[in-house]
């Protein structure tokens, strides 16, 4: 097995592939991460996403177009719990620059409305006034999937980018943090995503803030869950449902995971771990 580690999209990325010689595939997978980061980052002024947020209307390349379409579809499927229009709410909460550069504390955080109109007309994307997109989570899931496709050409593989992980072929033991330690899931196919407020958090005027915005309020979500992990057919799907279940709260999330057949691990604020969606 060959492994490669590097940093992209504000997180540590690991690539594993079961092959004797996969240098070219590893190189291509890493390049895919950097390429997509250059397109989808809201922190890079020259990215396609930044241009869209600035210019309000854009005919982007196929990747941004696809991610925006996936995000809008996810907004419908999750009843608005997943929403790409949380950009201004994240900025109002204090997450206005790459996370490493966000001050640990600062003046009081505000809120910003979410759920504005995003129109995709053929190859053109148009944003309503005062609507800006953040594709951080779903963009990372998208990149993980694309890197896995590239790497799968060399052999069975695993791509792990922070909270988003996908496998192609083989059988992979993956560790998850629980309330009291760690469990291992063996994944043969599909993807895992974890959303939570135990990382990427900061303070504003003494109050804790985190990056999971509740689009209904335009502020960081308040829920009895600390962290949600979802296993799904692909990393985008897992990312979307991890966020949506996190916002739902423990009981509703467990019921929804069971109903959708999405294996999930819920870790509550009072330090309990609950398995759902058929996971035992």
């Amino acid at each position: 097995m060959i492994a490669r580690r590097f940093r992209a999209m504000g997180t540590d990325v690991e690539l594993f592939v079961e092959a004797d010689d996969a240098e070219r595939a590893l190189e291509a997978a890493e390049n895919e991460f950097h390429r997509l980061e250059a397109l989808l980052s809201r922190f890079r002024p020259d990215s396609e996403l930044s241009r869209l947020n600035d210019e309000r209307t854009l005919e982007p390349g196929p990747d941004l177009l696809e991610v925006v379409e996936l995000a809008l579809l996810a907004r419908v499927r999750t009843g608005g719990r997943f929403d790409p229009t949380v950009h201004d709410a994240l900025v109002a909460a204090g997450y206005d620059r790459s996370f490493e550069l966000v001050p640990a504390d600062g003046p009081a955080a505000g809120s910003a409305p979410c759920g504005g109109g995003v129109l995709v007309d053929g190859r053109r994307i148009e944003l309503e006034p005062d609507v800006r997109l953040d594709l951080g989570g779903i963009g990372k899931g998208f990149a993980v999937e694309r890197a896995a496709v590239v790497l799968a050409a060399a052999g069975p593989c695993l791509v792990n980018a922070g909270g988003d992980l996908a496998v192609r072929g083989g059988s992979w033991p993956v560790g998850l943090e629980t309330a009291d330690g760690q469990i291992t899931l063996e994944l043969d196919r599909g993807a895992i995503a974890t959303s939570g407020r135990d990382r990427r958090r900061w303070r504003r005027n003494g109050h804790e803030q985190h990056h999971l915005i509740d689009p209904r309020k335009g502020t960081p979500a308040e829920t009895d869950l600390l962290r949600v992990t979802v296993v799904a057919s692909d990393a985008v799907e897992a990312e979307v449902w991890a966020k949506a279940l996190f916002l739902a709260g423990e009981d509703a999330a467990a019921a929804e995971a069971d109903e959708l057949g999405l294996p999930a691990v819920l870790v509550t604020v009072d330090e309990r771990t609950r398995l759902a969606g058929g996971l035992r």
């Binding site: 909270g163 072929g169 560790g175 943090e177 291992t184 994944l187 959303s195 296993v231 057919s233």
Partner: protein, 112 residues
């Protein structure tokens, strides 16, 4: 009268002799056949024809051999592509396959 008929016969005979002589001279029987065959230009053309025929046989053999190798490689590559496409198409579409185990993890996934 008799001398008039005789003159006509003599004229006809002379014409026949004239044409026979012309035909014979036009055939150039004094030129030997082997001389024409030994013309160096014809010999060069014949040699060139032989060489080209031989070369065409060799080229045809080489092309057939390369074509056979190409067809084998093409079949192999097509089956590889089909297998890969099937693998890629099947993996994300199918339901995820997961279970809790007691193995040590290869990697740990944390909150994004």
């Amino acid at each position: 009268m008799t001398s008039h008929v005789g003159r006509l016969y003599a004229l006809a005979l002379a014409l026949v002799v004239f044409f026979l002589t012309w035909t014979t001279v036009a055939a150039r029987p004094w030129v030997h056949t082997s001389k024409r065959v030994n013309d160096p230009r014809l010999a060069a053309l014949a040699a060139r024809e032989q060489r080209l025929r031989h070369e065409s046989v060799v080229v045809r053999r080489i092309v057939q051999k390369r074509w056979a190798v190409y067809r084998v490689e093409l079949r192999k590559r097509k089956s590889q592509i089909a297998a890969q496409q099937a693998q890629l198409a099947a993996a994300p579409a199918g339901a995820p396959s997961v279970r809790v185990v007691t193995l040590p993890p290869l990697t740990v996934t944390r909150t994004s």
